[in-house]
């Protein structure tokens, strides 16, 4: 059974190839069903692999397909490494991916490039699977880059609008900064270990010097900051909401952005081998991210952008968990977050779809009645993310908070910083409750505002976007304008069961997923599962059981966590459920994301000068050098051509001259002069 591991990435790859060549013939909606089937089949295979893996001694399995790069000392295989960590992620990617594919079949219906979407979508799933299953850093990097590329393709799926294309570029370029970090880390790993394979690197990690391990970890951290949208490279994620909603759900909530967390967990022996302050750096980055993003999320008007900031915040939780040694907690949060964030995104997509592509929450309100199923699903997911018992997010968030608190006291690198981070995480739980229920109340409760006169700035945005679409109208084809038509009346309606089905399933999962890892005695299935990952044994702090708590302390901490979440909900209720107050008072006085706007301004003005200089350098000096070589050859040839005069006598002169020179050489060098 385990030998079929290659089937898991092969199926989406097959789907990609078939749709690439025949997609236009297959068409809407069959292309979507094919893609979904491929991912679903991969999920089924993954389940089979799970049963196989638990019976495997040591719980690891490796399958090498062939040698990819046989270059002497540098030998890289295409191989798959299945252990509990990759198994967990495999199930998440295929399962949640499959559900989102199903949703997309309905969501993208009618789009003129329907099949193209699924081409990219399947390619994305393939890349993500390669990232997770790869048994060496280079294969993971292949997947890393692949998901970045697919993200670019899919964000700019409706590229007729210039701002969509710009958003995609921003995402790609920001990710590229992270990729640079990955590359340097990879180079260093090869330099130190002589191999890129995890089987070679991870067992040897305790043997390297702390400085080396720190070097590698810090550069990989740059990669994580880029890919998982931490401060300061989170900018691309809110803008990435320009893509269709299934993209936001799958790529920018459940899978691609979690690749960074996966990488850190995979490399945990190196983190353990580095200086004591390195994990704290990771934790602090995570903590700052989760707090700042939560604050920004409270003031967003676009529903998808609000959810984007929420994603950034939750990713901050995961990264913080990694930093304090709670690797299993990070993975747990990854799993639960995938479930409830996907629910939220897909539900939001349904809302947006039903509201005629309007995304600004000021035009929502009172949608509970026309869209009840979505309402209840999103309610479940919101309760989960706020950390209310017994929903899934509660268990995972408190897992993280427990590790953070524990890092303040125990373990080799403990420091009071752990307490500070714990408090930050706790306070942000309040903010989480606020922002998520703000979304719920503004959208579903209150008075229906969609018949009110449209606010001025929305009208202006619409005009701009219509102009951009007209600009991008390439051949005069019919182009779907995916922005709210502000001048048309809205008739909210719930989407069909094809789209509601996955949302419901995901909502159910966001309720029950928590039970895979309860912090009581033997019920921590996920943690014990991950414990058996051989490399996690090297990081004993990743074991919650190592935390010397008794059940009472556990319950107290759980209670604190959930009460803070509830407090956030209560604040949101007070502020937003009431009819009149719709915004926090500070909104309107501050820009919606000052850092983002600062970066955008920088890129546009001082940055542009730098870019122009770099481009000039490339064009004049580098291209000039390359072209110059050709020119030198041509000029030299032109000069040397003159030797061939055509006159026999000049040739004779040349011969005579040559003879003289040779004789002179002989006389002076070969013969000894008396």
């Amino acid at each position: 059974m385990l030998n079929l591991i290659w089937l898991v990435p092969a199926l989406p790859l097959l789907g990609f190839l078939v749709l690439l060549f025949f997609g236009s013939k297959i068409g809407d909606p069959l292309a979507g069903w094919l893609a979904t089937f491929m991912v679903g089949a991969a999920f089924v295979v993954s389940l089979g692999l799970l049963t196989g893996l638990v019976n495997q001694p040591g719980n690891t399995f490796q399958q090498v397909l062939y040698t990819w790069v046989p270059a002497g000392d540098f030998n890289v295989d295409v191989g798959f490494y299945l252990d509990p960590l990759s198994m967990t992620l495999l199930l998440v990617i295929c399962g949640i991916g499959g559900l989102i594919h199903l949703y997309a079949v309905g969501y993208m219906q009618g789009d003129p490039r329907y099949h193209q979407f699924f081409v990219y979508f399947n390619l994305f799933v393939f890349s993500m699977l390669m990232l997770v299953l790869g048994d060496n850093l280079l294969l993971t990097f292949l997947g890393w880059e692949g998901v970045g590329a697919c993200s670019y393709f899919l964000i700019s799926f409706w590229f007729e609008r210039k701002s969509n294309a710009s958003a995609a570029k921003k995402a790609f370029v920001t990710n590229r900064v992270g990729d640079w970090g990955y590359l340097v880390g990879m180079f260093m790993s090869f330099f130190v270990f002589g191999s890129l394979s995890y089987a070679d690197i991870l067992p040897k990690a305790p043997g390297v010097t702390q400085a080396t391990a720190t070097f590698i970890v810090l550069f990989m951290l740059v990669a994580v900051v880029g890919k998982s949208a931490q401060i300061p490279l989170y900018l691309w994620l809110p803008d990435a909401m320009a893509g269709p909603t299934p993209i936001s759900a799958l790529i920018h909530a459940a899978t691609m952005v979690t690749a960074g967390v996966y990488l850190l967990v995979r490399l945990n022996p190196l983190i353990a081998a580095s200086y004591g302050w390195v994990p704290w750096v990771i934790a602090v980055i995570g903590a700052i991210t989760l707090f700042v993003a939560a604050v920004l999320g409270c003031v967003q008007r676009d529903i998808k952008k609000a959810l984007a900031y929420s994603t950034v915040s939750q990713l901050g939780y995961m990264v913080m968990a990694v930093g304090v040694g709670g690797y299993s907690a990070a993975v747990f949060q990854l799993v639960t977050h995938a479930a409830f964030k996907a629910t939220l995104f897909l539900g939001a997509g349904g809302v947006v779809h039903g509201m005629g592509d309007e995304q600004d929450m000021r035009r929502f309100g009172g949608l509970k009645k026309p869209m009840p199923v979505i309402y209840w699903c999103m309610m479940m997911a919101s309760l989960a993310i706020s950390g209310i018992v017994p929903f899934s997010g509660f268990w995972s968030k408190d897992d993280i908070l427990a590790f953070t608190w524990n890092a303040g006291f125990n373990g080799p690198n403990s420091s009071p910083l752990g307490i500070v981070l714990y408090l930050v995480g706790l306070f942000t739980a309040v903010l989480t409750g606020i922002y998520i229920f703000r979304i719920v109340y503004l959208t579903f409760h209150g008075r229906a505002r969609y018949d009110d006169p449209v606010p001025e700035d929305i009208l202006q945005d619409n005009a701009i976007s219509e102009a951009e679409y007209a600009d991008g109208d390439l051949e005069g084809d019919h182009i779907e304008i995916h922005d709210g038509h502000a001048h048309e009346p809205i008739h909210p309606h719930q989407p069909g069961w094809l789209m509601l089905g996955p949302v419901a399933v995901l909502a159910f999962l966001s309720v029950v997923m928590g039970f895979i890892n309860l912090p009581f005695g033997k019920a921590d299935f996920l943690q014990s599962f991950l414990e058996k990952v051989s490399n996690l044994e090297l990081a004993p702090a990743g074991n919650l059981a190592a935390i010397p708590v008794n059940n009472l302390q556990t319950i107290v901490m759980l209670a604190i966590g959930t009460s803070f979440g509830a407090a956030g909900i209560f604040v949101a209720y007070r502020l937003f459920k009431a009819e009149k107050l719709q915004e926090l008072p500070i909104v309107g006085k501050l820009p919606l994301d000052p850092y983002n706007q600062l970066v955008t301004w920088f890129m546009g003005h001082p940055g542009r000068v730098i870019f122009d200089m770099v481009e000039w350098f490339d064009r004049t000096i580098i291209d000039g050098a390359v072209n110059g070589v050709g020119k030198v050859v041509a000029v030299a040839g032109e000069g040397i051509r003159r030797v061939q005069t055509g006159y026999v006598r000049t040739y004779a002169l040349g011969v005579a001259l040559g003879a003289v020179l040779i004789l002179a050489f002989v006389v002076t060098r070969v013969l000894s002069l008396s």
Partner: protein
């Protein structure tokens, strides 16, 4: 004062003057006659060095056949126009360069002769030294001094016999090959000199350079042809 020395000096003078005549005569016929003088002087010098057969062959083949052939061609083709030696289409720099190269060649050759202390191939000291003991032996007193190499001449065996023996034993292959070469040369010459039915002159050709035609125009025409 020995006979060899006198003969050498006379013949050397004749040879050099003849060479000068070849180069400096304006008429090709005068050059040919000067060449005859030189060749004859060299034949005598061969004789002076016990190369009797070669002297004979030199006179018969070189002087008697080759130069005659050249004269025939001169006469046949009417190339006996007087060349305008002052004119040099390639520019005076060419002449200067030519002179310099020739002088340099002479200098290097002399340097080899004077200062070369060893043979290049064997690295052993050469037997010829300047002003040292002479290995020169007059004709009447030849002795077998180097039995391994083929001796030039002994009192018993004439030069031609020894030469013949060398050629037909050690150098038989080269001999046959040169015979073939001669045949090929004859065939080639016959083919090339064969006059086809019509001799088509190249239509738009300028006059020859020797009569002082306009060089710039000719060069320009040449450029045109090249650009095309």
């Amino acid at each position: 004062m020995s006979v060899q020395l006198v003969v050498f000096f006379i013949c050397a003078l004749i040879a050099l003057f003849g060479a000068g005549g070849v180069v400096w005569s304006r008429s090709p016929v005068h050059s040919a006659l000067s060449l005859v003088a030189t060749l004859f002087a060299i034949a005598v010098l061969f004789l002076n060095q016990n190369a009797q057969f070669l002297a004979a062959v030199q006179v018969i083949v070189y002087t008697g056949a080759i130069v005659i052939l050249i004269l025939f061609v001169i006469m046949l083709l009417g190339v006996d126009k007087l060349e305008n030696l002052a004119d040099e289409p390639l520019g005076i720099g060419f002449r200067v360069a030519g002179g310099v190269v020739a002088v340099a060649l002479l200098a290097v050759l002399l340097a080899v002769f004077f200062f070369g202390g060893r043979t290049i191939v064997t690295g052993k000291p050469a037997q010829a030294t300047f002003g040292g003991t002479s290995t020169y032996q007059p004709i009447s007193q030849q002795a077998v001094s180097n039995p391994q190499a083929g001796v030039i001449d002994t009192a018993d065996v004439p030069n031609i016999n020894l030469l013949g023996k060398q050629i037909f034993t050690q150098y038989i292959l080269a001999f046959e090959v040169t015979a073939a070469l001669l045949t090929i040369a004859v065939v080639g010459a016959v083919v090339m000199a064969h006059r086809s039915k019509q001799v088509q002159p190249i239509p738009d050709e300028p006059e020859s350079l020797d009569s002082g035609a306009d060089l710039a125009a000719i060069d320009a025409a040449g450029e045109e042809v090249r650009e095309a």
